[in-house]
């Protein structure tokens, strides 16, 4: 099932203005009209301002931002639950913005599946009937619907609950149904709108693990919306941070944590436990053959994991190896600690 040729998503020059005369506002915004002026003088609300994101195929793209930053609006553009004011959304080589009603329906049926913050399950259908929904809409024969549904219900850990109604399940279990419903669709793109935000912290971590495990098999293009930076760093192959409808930074988790683009991002990053995010390669010292240690770690080891290894071996240094097994650097406990603890000048 792991196909390499999943489509990526390319969001280009995307603008969204809410209001009766939205189209006319874009040129004004391009001339530098601010969000407050747009609202005060023209009575329109800015949703997205010139968003450009290239989402790689088969990877998890996280879009992070606080409420009101436009992240839910952005994800709804990808399957056009919201129509853009200007811009392009390329999926593979198709422009979603240019699709007609019929084309769009087929696109939603076969190319995308979505998981919602409030689950949005059909309350009058049991778990099995909820999970087959996407396939039923596609007109897949009933036997194949049920086969796929049973497989995914089993995969998300809900075997035995097929005949339960959503109301009989806890929040975490309901979202497993939501996830199974989206996966059963077997669409190459999975859109997750704050999918785990309504769940308890423990269950949320649990669901993140489920998602990462499944993603190892299916390699879909996943767009994941969240307001939680820890969640973003854990899940995201790439992360884009949105503020007031604008992308303020995008890159890998390492980029975000080590090189925050502005004070806004810095404020977020300060609360993150760096030990679980930053890799040793980012903070290691150059390798000196004299210090070569028996304890080695791959270079993409988190600081926490490296500290653990170092503690178990009681030696001065860890040798950091690259994928080929050649030493590329070394790191001491002192260096590790300094990197894990938030730098002093950032506190207060």
């Amino acid at each position: 099932m792991a196909e390499a040729n999943q489509p990526g998503i390319d969001v280009r020059n995307l603008w969204k203005v809410f209001g009766p005369n939205a189209k006319a506002m874009v040129p004004l915004l391009k001339q530098g009209l601010s969000k407050a002026e747009l609202n005060g003088r023209h009575g329109h609300v800015l949703g997205l301002r010139n968003v450009n994101i290239t989402m790689p195929a088969g990877a998890i793209q996280v879009i992070m931002g606080l409420s009101g930053s436009g992240k839910s609006t952005l994800i709804r553009h990808i399957n056009r639950l919201v129509d853009p004011t200007a811009g392009e959304i390329l999926v593979g080589d198709e422009d979603v913005v240019k699709m007609g009603v019929h084309e769009l329906r087929e696109f939603r049926r076969h190319k995308t599946a979505m998981v919602f913050q409030k689950f949005a399950l059909l309350p009058h259908r049991n778990v099995l009937e909820n999970v087959v929904y996407g396939l039923e809409i596609q007109g897949v024969p009933r036997r194949r619907q049920v086969e796929a549904a049973i497989r995914w219900i089993d995969r998300v850990g809900l075997a035995g609950f097929e005949k339960h109604y959503p109301n009989q399940l806890s929040g975490g279990m309901q979202q497993r149904v939501g996830l199974a419903r989206a996966l059963a669709n077997d669409a190459p793109i999975l859109l997750m709108d704050e999918a785990f935000s309504a769940l308890d912290p423990l269950i949320r971590t649990d669901m993140q693990t489920v998602l990462l495990d499944i993603q190892k098999e299916i390699r879909k293009t996943i767009v994941f919306i969240t307001h939680d930076l820890d969640e973003a760093l854990r899940l995201g192959d790439r992360i884009a941070i949105l503020r007031d409808g604008e992308v303020v930074q995008q890159g890998t988790s390492q980029d975000i944590v080590l090189r925050p683009a502005d004070d806004y991002v810095k404020a977020f990053v300060k609360e993150v436990s760096r030990g679980r995010v930053v890799y040793v390669e980012a903070v290691m010292a150059p390798f000196r053959p004299a210090d070569r240690s028996l304890a080695t770690v791959p270079r993409q080891t988190t600081l926490d994991a490296a500290a653990n290894v170092l503690m178990q071996h009681c030696c001065e240094h860890l040798t950091v190896m690259d994928e080929a097994g050649t030493p590329v650097g070394q790191i001491s406990l002192r260096q590790l600690l300094r990197a894990i603890v938030t730098p002093a000048d950032d506190i207060g």
Binding site: A120, L122, I137
Partner: protein, 295 residues
């Protein structure tokens, strides 16, 4: 100063002429189209006669057994079944069986008609705010206009008999069906609708899989209201020749037969309660999936 104390009116001759012209116009319309309009309603007439014959020709024990089975399927409650059977037995013992069957058959036809007319209009209203703003005042008129007033043109067009009776009853009883169908569909959770959209549902798939099932409890409340309102029209309908429990009541009013009026009135109450309990129990059983909540 005169016109301050006495409302200035249209001059009497003009008013008389206006009324006369409207009346004559309608009479001419009746003469010209009465027959063809009657023909349009012929299938309804046959349906009514068929329903009435069915209930009258069936032996009473079979009817009672059928009601018991329906009550059981709808409610799964022995109490409701026993109540229905007991009510029917008492009605029969007091020699009102045939009239009751005629009334039940008419109510059945009216309800079916109200559902067939009401649900599509309700769906249309839920989809279009414009249609809603047009239909709502019409429904207001239908519900508040005294029924005698629209009995006049109906009788002029179709004469007296079953069909005009059914039309009058349906006009009075269909508004709650339309209103509650509209309300039920409009109240469907926006998040669930968005999910249906996101999976690429066509609007027919959305209606069938999401909107109608989620609106069903509200629609059932509409059916229940429609039945109750139809029953309350039984006596008025009897004035234009609809047979059933209404006619003895009418006779009782004219001749001051107190007991006759009370007995037949109570029989109407009895079948109203049977209809109500069965349809309500069915409606709440439809919501069963909502009741068992995760603790």
């Amino acid at each position: 100063m005169d016109s301050f104390w006495k409302f200035p009116t249209m001059d009497a001759d003009t008013l008389r002429l206006l009324k006369k012209n409207i009346d004559e116009g309608f009479r001419a319309f009746t003469r010209a189209y009465g027959d063809s309009i009657e023909n349009v309603f012929n299938p309804l007439q046959s349906f009514l006669i068929w329903a009435e014959r069915l209930l009258l020709a069936t032996p009473w024990p079979v009817v009672i057994a059928a009601v018991a089975v329906i009550a059981w399927i709808a409610s799964r409650s022995m109490k409701i079944v026993a109540g229905c059977v007991a009510t029917l037995l008492v009605i029969g013992w007091f020699d009102m069986w045939d009239d009751t069957m005629k009334t039940v058959s008419m109510i059945f036809v009216c309800t079916v008609l109200a559902i067939v007319i009401g649900i599509p209009i309700g769906i249309g209203m839920a989809r279009s705010n414009r249609l809603q703003s047009i239909v709502n005042p019409v429904l207001d008129v239908m519900q508040t206009m005294p029924s005698f007033v629209y009995l006049i043109p109906v009788v002029m067009l179709l004469g007296i008999g079953r069909v005009p009776g059914v039309i009058a009853v349906v006009i009075y009883a269909v508004p709650p069906m339309i209103r509650l169908a509209n309300l039920g569909i409009r109240m469907v959770d926006k998040d669930v609708l968005e999910a249906a959209d996101a999976f690429g549902s066509s609007s027919w798939q959305k209606l069938r899989n999401v909107q109608l099932p989620l609106a069903l409890p509200t629609i059932m409340a509409g059916v229940n209201q429609t039945i109750m309102m139809a029953l309350s029209m039984v006596v008025i309908a009897s004035m234009i020749g609809v047979q059933g429990l209404g006619q003895p009541v009418l006779k009782a009013i004219a001749n001051q037969y107190f007991t006759l009026g009370v007995f037949n009135g109570l029989a109407i109450v009895g079948i109203a309660i049977i209809f109500d309990r069965i349809s309500q129990a069915y409606g709440s059983r439809l919501q069963k999936h909502r009741e068992i909540v995760h603790g």
